[in-house]
Symmetry: C2
Subunit: 270 residues, 2 copies
Amino acid sequence: MAIKEIVFIGAGRVATQLGLTLREKNKTIVQVYSRSLKSASDLAQQVNAKAITDLSLLSMEADLYIISVVDDAIKDIAAQLQLGHKLVVHTSGSVSMNSINKASQNFGVFYPLQTFDKKKRVDFTKLPICVEGSNAEVESELFALGRELSEDVRMISSGQRLFIHIAAVYACNFSNFMYLMGAEILEFAKVDFDILIPLIQETAHKISGNHPYNVQTGPALRGDKLTMQKHLEILKDHPEKFDMYKNISRFITNYFTTHTTNPASEKPTK
Amino acid sequence: MAIKEIVFIGAGRVATQLGLTLREKNKTIVQVYSRSLKSASDLAQQVNAKAITDLSLLSMEADLYIISVVDDAIKDIAAQLQLGHKLVVHTSGSVSMNSINKASQNFGVFYPLQTFDKKKRVDFTKLPICVEGSNAEVESELFALGRELSEDVRMISSGQRLFIHIAAVYACNFSNFMYLMGAEILEFAKVDFDILIPLIQETAHKISGNHPYNVQTGPALRGDKLTMQKHLEILKDHPEKFDMYKNISRFITNYFTTHTTNPASEKPTK
């Protein structure tokens, strides 16, 4: 039976983008719960749902309950739910599926792998959705729901998901911090940050046809000590940028010294 | 007088993409010099030029000589040229303009800020080109040439250019290395790298309307120690990823503890 009526527990960035997208796919968002009335109302209004701030008012009639709160609160909030056989999922990368096994007999994970923002709409069409279920029926229901939103739905275990989450920290959070360091270094020379945008976007696009091993460039890869010394000399009055430059360059040099061929080269990237 | 005939000294990635683009703008590429006949011929063929491997055969009739060799070789090769008043430039981010002052009385820098590949064509239309000249006339000639290729040509001093180059190392080389670490972490869990592509591309696109300070996310920013500990626990058998995760997370936490507002916030990004 296809999922039609959905309750959101949580009204943050993931809940907002997922809620708006589900609504566009003609799902009914019945309720949005949040401890904060303002948060609950903000999202409820956008998806034509009722806002609630009291879990005892939770509808028992929905087909799916989506827990989308901060990681640390997922287990606690699940323990407060008594949903019998109703399907309940969380949307987190780093929390195991079993953390919510108190809430219902049918539980799972529905983890869209993307960086979300409350305001900026996210296109789910090609977005990887990682699905896991407490039993085969749950998995097939979640898979079907995922496929209504995206071409790319994958069965991923809690163990794998944790690795994916760490990989995402590197690829998204750490990369953005590298952009930020770049922005600060430009500030020193009174150059606008926007000069870096085409380079950043090309770097991100290159990897869609190539493994990042094959497109790594730069002085650390080449072992170009002269350029690295010149850069460090310039950064010497900025200890955090100096240390980071030195550390990451050393990691790159070591990595390519010990990995002289791409460890993933037998598996061509799609 | 507009630049029409061009000689390339060097046949690497920058020379290839710049040469192909100049050719499309109806410039004549007269010669391509490289120590390696194969490299010289490869590019010469693509831009309908003569390949030479001997600097004494250099045409003295061109309007512009573009030195596009590895950074360490620029000064040496310039010292071998005797071009009188002919316009000569290099294309490097980290080498000062004066490094080539032996080659001619009119010299400068023409530095396209992008990551280049011999094969993948680069669209120059919106690509920032950093220009510097030994005198006002040189600057205006190089600026005009830049504007034939790109909407975004900037007068940038050698000092500023060096900061831009360091910023580019962070934003491009270091970011790509973060993608590579993400790819390796996925390997541990037998998950295909392509699962990260939409996240990487969204992360790179977010900063075109937002300063990276404002879009930083992740456990280190939130001070979410529980998640960071969980991640480190998983990485403990992979010392290089463990150390890097710990180091960069510490940099992020420290940075946001000491910079509670965006240092660039008075200057809204374009």
